[in-house]
């Protein structure tokens, strides 16, 4: 037991449930998810509709208003998130817990320059002068390896490439130095080569700042190489949880099915197996 | 529904909602049923539908429903009676005519205007729009320029000018309004056409040797119809208001026809003391217009649920 473990873990989630009322009945997006997170990297893997994104948003408090969120415990450090007043929760967002979204084409405000959007995060949470804010924004842009930060500062989101936009988003969300980062499919909208660059930057920043990371993705291989632990979700529940090093010895048939679908070099796998869903996984 | 559909009773609710229809009719009726259900959930839309049905009933049964003669009044005894007078529920005008009866018969004129304008303008717009959207090129450019030019005039003003040239009368008013109404339909039809002009099913039909005429008529036009219907319904309110405006200026149906707009104009003189002569027809216009707007909104929400939201 190290010192980090004796204090409350960074994030505690116990029996989280997210339900959406729709015209045709209730949709249970997340059905009793539990895990805890320290200063480590956790990957949440699942297909569309598995509830992985909704889990991330519930932690942030960004679920749409008409949804119902319950949990036995949802705590950041020793602060209970569910019973917190809205203003307090909002103060945490961006400052202590941050989230990166998937596609910078849509997740950056199209009518504000990149610099202004980064400065805005700063000004919301800290008392800084305009000049200080600008300097910190510029240094953050440098930290995400944007070579010409002064120029990019003045650009609009549609004027930069996807990879640069995503890096700007990372800068915007990390500029206040949060402790926990939730990355919701951060590279899914990028070209493969750019993906690796952005992941590298994420890797460096998370390591440098000692942040906790939740990496949500549909890409099992990506997550397993990037994270220490992996959680596999299916139909709103966790079906498997294991350290990524031990992924090959996964037990749940869904995880095994996913692993089987991945082609491997050196082996002949004709035809490539397809996931054969069993009803009991969704129960 | 994984049970075999042969077991479903035809035209029952489950039959309509089945996701594996066994005939084209079943699919069509099923879709219509779903749209109807969405529509019926919207109370205001039902109110709109109710108003429209009321209008149709009143117009059809005008002879039965009107207590008095709408054209010939009792000048001697019944001039400018207030609402609630015996035999004159909504009062009478300066020629002793029962306002309620005039409103009832006036509904026929309103309906006539609305139906004729729709029947003239919508097909013109549909044809121009689909041809323009499908053929493209200079045909498209020319037709769209013409459409834009008509759109460049405010509807009422253009209708005014046309009726001024043609002479007052309800036929001229209808023609004038129809001429100013078709451009938006052309634009909508063209926009719709262009979204699927290059789609695969059109390409498939072309490969089968269908002529452009056949493609436009049998494949393109039916797809534009639903958005066109919504737009026409939404426009009806505006058409009624324009017709009323023309009537108010004396350019629509000529006296003694009980056109609602003209009734407001003739009641204007007495507005201070006998307000009901001008006020009642306005309420009628308001209610009918409102009905069409509600109906149109409801149709649009039912046919395109994304607009309505959850």
């Amino acid at each position: 037991m190290t010192l980090a473990m004796t204090a409350a873990p960074l994030l505690t989630v116990e029996d989280l449930r997210v339900t959406f009322p729709t015209r045709t009945g209730e949709v249970n997006a997340v059905r009793g998810v539990s895990f805890s997170l320290g200063k480590e990297r956790l990957g949440i893997v699942g297909e569309s509709g598995s509830g992985k994104s909704q889990t991330g948003r519930a932690i942030m408090g960004l679920t749409p208003g008409h949804a119902k969120i319950t949990a036995r415990k949802l705590a950041f450090g020793d602060r209970d998130l569910l019973s917190m007043p809205n203003a307090e929760r909002r103060a945490l967002r961006g400052k202590k817990i941050a989230m990166i979204l998937q596609d910078p084409k849509y997740s950056l405000n199209p009518v504000m320059t990149i610099g202004r959007q980064i400065v805005e995060t700063l000004k919301t949470h800290e008392k800084v002068s305009a000049r200080q804010a600008r300097e910190r924004a510029l240094s953050m842009l440098e930290a995400v390896q944007i070579r010409d930060p002064e120029r990019v500062f003045e650009l609009y989101p549609h004027e930069v490439s996807g990879g640069m936009g995503q890096r700007a988003m990372i800068a915007m969300m990390l500029v206040c130095g949060p402790e926990l980062l939730i990355a919701d499919e951060p590279t899914s909208a990028l070209d493969v080569t750019v993906q690796l660059e952005v992941l590298g930057i994420l890797d460096k920043l998370v390591a440098e700042r000692g942040m906790g990371l939740i990496f949500i993705s549909h890409d099992l291989r990506l997550v397993s190489s990037f994270c220490d632990r992996v959680i596999v979700m299916y139909a709103g529940k966790i079906v498997e949880e294991l350290p990524s090093a031990n992924l090959a010895s996964a037990e749940h048939p869904y995880t095994r099915g996913l692993l089987n679908c991945l082609p491997t070099i050196g082996s002949d796998r004709h035809p490539l197996p397809v996931l054969d869903r069993k009803r009991e996984w969704a129960l | 529904m994984s049970i075999a559909d042969t077991q479903l009773k035809p035209y029952s609710r489950e039959w309509l909602l089945s996701d594996r229809p066994t005939s084209r009719r079943q699919a069509r009726l099923g879709r219509a049923y779903i749209v109807w259900r969405r529509f019926a959930e919207n109370r205001l839309a039902l109110v709109g539908l109710g108003i429209l049905i009321l209008l149709l009933v009143v117009a059809a049964l005008a002879d039965v429903l009107a207590p008095n003669n709408p054209v010939v009044g009792d000048l001697m005894n019944a001039r400018l009676l207030p609402p609630g007078s015996p035999g004159y529920l909504l009062g009478s005008d300066d020629q002793g005519r029962d306002i309620l009866s005039r409103l009832v018969y006036g509904s026929r004129l309103t309906l006539l205007v609305v139906v004729l304008v729709a029947v003239i303008a919508a097909p013109i717009g549909l044809i121009v729009g689909t041809v323009s959207g499908y053929i493209g090129g200079w045909v498209d450019a020319v037709l769209m320029r013409i459409t834009d030019i008509f759109l460049a005039f405010p509807k009422l003003v253009l209708a005014l000018a046309l009726v001024a040239a043609l002479g007052p009368g309800i036929e001229n008013a209808i023609l004038a309004i129809a001429v100013t109404s078709w451009p938006p339909y052309a634009r909508i039809a063209r926009a719709e056409t262009m979204t699927f002009r290059n789609s695969e099913f059109i390409a498939a039909v072309k490969l089968m040797g269908a002529s452009p005429l056949r493609i436009i008529l049998r494949h393109v036009m039916p797809l534009c119809v639903s958005s066109l219907i919504v737009r026409v319904t939404l426009d009806m309110a505006g058409i009624i208001l324009t017709a009323a405006g023309l009537g108010f200026l004396g350019l629509g149906a000529q006296p003694p026809l009980p056109e609602w707009g003209a009734m407001i104009a003739s009641g204007r003189r007495f507005i201070l003391d006998q307000w009901w002569v001008a006020a009642m027809p306005g309420f009628a216009i308001l209610i009918v217009s409102l009905g069409f707007n509600l109906l149109g909104d409801g149709l649009r929400d039912a046919l395109d649920p994304k607009e309505a939201g959850q």
Partner: protein
């Protein structure tokens, strides 16, 4: 071997310049063809549609000599396209014919009355925007609530009510019964000469000349017709604002803004509305154009001496030159406003600016 920076830059600039020139040319062509189309339509209505175009112009009380003269002037024996050419030349040089009613050149009449309509439309649009935009934002933010329903009903009634009828009733209430407002016209005879009309906007003139007594009277005259048009305008603007805001609030950047910890108020007004402002500004410009149409009947009710009243008066007196002249001017202004709003859209949306 890469080209030096300067060459690349000049090539890029040249390309930008030529594409800019191309778009200007395209724009000029569009405007020209639209004006041409307007002329064709008014020519058609004026010369082709009436059974006797001469009668339409001179009126039925003109003498035989006048009739003959006008008939020759119009060149009705000439082929249609030559007639049109004559007509187009006339109009483009500012000759809209003479009004039967006022015996002035129509263009002069229009120049005299148009500012009144503009003042009314400006007041109406102003009211519509000031009230309509916040209402639309409210309805969008509180979607489905009572506030939303109320705003939608207000808008719905605005779309469905005959504006001239509402004006009549409002006149009875606010003028006859309550005597809160003044009627008819723009200004009382008493005050008519206390200030010098310069801009055409009486309110502005009186304010600039410090005539506060006159201003109050002017205000009392414009209040009701302005409010009426304002209601009309806000029905449309609030509906469009609501629609745009709903669209913006469902975008990902709003989620991102919330993730940054921004307050909902800030997100609504500085993020969502700022994005919605781009199409909204064009909507407001178009609503101005709509009010030009609404003013035709409103001016008739309030005896407001603007272009609308001019047209309807000329109509009642079968003064075709005046009617067509007025129609043409309104059409041209309509086109102008549409073009303006298009340009406005391009300037405001950074996505279309740097292309």
């Amino acid at each position: 071997m890469t080209l030096p920076e300067t060459t690349v830059a000049t090539r890029r600039n040249r390309r930008r310049a030529s594409s800019f020139a191309a778009s200007v040319l395209r724009f000029a062509v569009t405007v020209a063809t639209t004006i041409f189309g307007l002329l064709v339509v008014t020519f058609f209505i004026g010369r082709v549609v009436p059974i006797d175009p001469v009668l339409a112009i001179v009126g039925d009380r003109a003498s035989a000599t006048v009739y003959e003269r006008v008939r020759l002037e119009l060149g009705l024996n000439l082929p249609l396209y030559q007639q049109f050419w004559l007509y187009a030349k006339q109009v483009l040089s500012g000759d809209f014919g003479t009004s039967v009613l006022t015996t002035n050149p129509v263009l002069e009449d229009i120049k005299r009355v148009f500012p009144a309509t503009m003042e009314l439309a400006t007041v109406g649009t102003f009211i519509g925007a000031i009230i309509g935009v916040p209402l639309g934002v409210l309805a969008a933010v509180r979607r489905g609530s009572i506030a939303d329903q109320v705003v939608r009903v207000i808008g719905l009634i605005g779309y469905s009510v005959p504006i001239f009828w509402l004006g009549l009733l409002a006149l009875v209430l606010f003028y006859a019964q309550l005597q809160w407002i003044a009627f008819p016209g723009r200004v009382d005879i008493v005050y008519e000469y206390s200030f010098t009309p310069q801009t055409g906007f009486f309110l502005l003139d009186a304010a600039m000349q410090g005539q506060w007594g006159v201003m109050w009277d002017l205000f009392r005259h414009i209040a009701l017709p302005g409010a009426l048009l304002g209601y009309f305008s806000l029905a449309y603007i609030s509906r469009m604002t609501r629609s745009f805001m709903l669209n913006e609030l469902s975008q990902e950047y709003v989620v991102a803004a919330r993730a940054k910890g921004l307050s909902e108020t800030r997100i609504i007004w500085f993020h969502a509305l700022r994005n919605a402002a781009v199409p909204l500004v064009t909507v407001i410009a178009l609503s101005y154009a709509n009010l030009l149409e609404g003013s035709v009947l409103t001016e008739t009710i309030f005896s407001w001496p603007g272009l609308g009243l001019y047209i309807t008066n000329s109509l009642q007196n079968a003064d075709m030159n005046a009617v067509l002249g007025g129609t043409l001017v309104i059409g041209a202004v309509f086109v102008g406003i549409n073009i303006f709003s298009d340009l406005l859209y391009r300037t405001l949306d950074p996505r279309t600016r740097s292309r």
